[in-house]
Symmetry: C2
Subunit: 173 residues, 2 copies
Amino acid sequence: MADTVLFEFLHTEMVAELWAHDPDPGPGVSAGSRGEEVGATTGQKMSLSVLEGMGFRVGQALGERLPRETLAFREELDVLKFLCKDLWVAVFQKQMDSLRTNHQGTYVLQDNSFPLLLPMASGLQYLEEAPKFLAFTCGLLRGALCTLGIESVVTASVAALPVCKFQVVIPKS
Amino acid sequence: MADTVLFEFLHTEMVAELWAHDPDPGPGVSAGSRGEEVGATTGQKMSLSVLEGMGFRVGQALGERLPRETLAFREELDVLKFLCKDLWVAVFQKQMDSLRTNHQGTYVLQDNSFPLLLPMASGLQYLEEAPKFLAFTCGLLRGALCTLGIESVVTASVAALPVCKFQVVIPKS
């Protein structure tokens, strides 16, 4: 179905457009970047932040639409499981591959073939290009969590394409 | 399904983002604008052109994915019918409501409830906001046509929300 790829095409265009307007196209963002790490130029940081913000608002809106009325979110972990299944399927037509937690508010969500990284060659070749394809999705997770009443910090890292880890940190209040 | 609305959410964010960066936020784009008409500021024209370009590339990519191998495009009109059915369903989960032509290369495609305009109130109230929600789709049509081997000029007009007319002009070569 074309509508499955529509999101991916649009996301690609969005990333390309924001990068085209980068006022200071310096050296590539460092590998394994978490979105705002050193190595990125000011313009690139701004683009990442814009993408993250767009993802956040889309995540918020999606969070309101997903069929969560049947679920009783007794614990934080239930919410994270919901994101790994329902949200991921809604957006990427697949479930997250694994979810781990230290039971102290830190969760690591791993996707072994993250769809937005799949068009790139696997391995290390284009690793430095990865962060710009992750920022939107970090925002998406943060936005969905926000709608579900949880404030969080979401970062992503890639050790080898197309495997991707999203780290969700929920500060204890 | 959330993935149906995903494209719409993302499109909304994209429009908002491009407008936020409009360096010269002057008076609104004139009603019934064709994307590049008078009334738009330079920044707005640039944003419309950027949106149209993004739509074009997404349309090109989609044109390659749609199941057109079963269709024999003997005539231009067949291609336009294909866009009104298959492309529209793939992107908007509905068919175009009508297709008219003067049989001289001009086609008018009418959608009586264009999904990207639906979130806005119906009637005349937000008419001047409409052009920015049409530019991407104009590009989408032009891009899909391009993949199918037809060069075209695509413009859109709105007389009353959420009814929208896309005019496709195919210059005779």
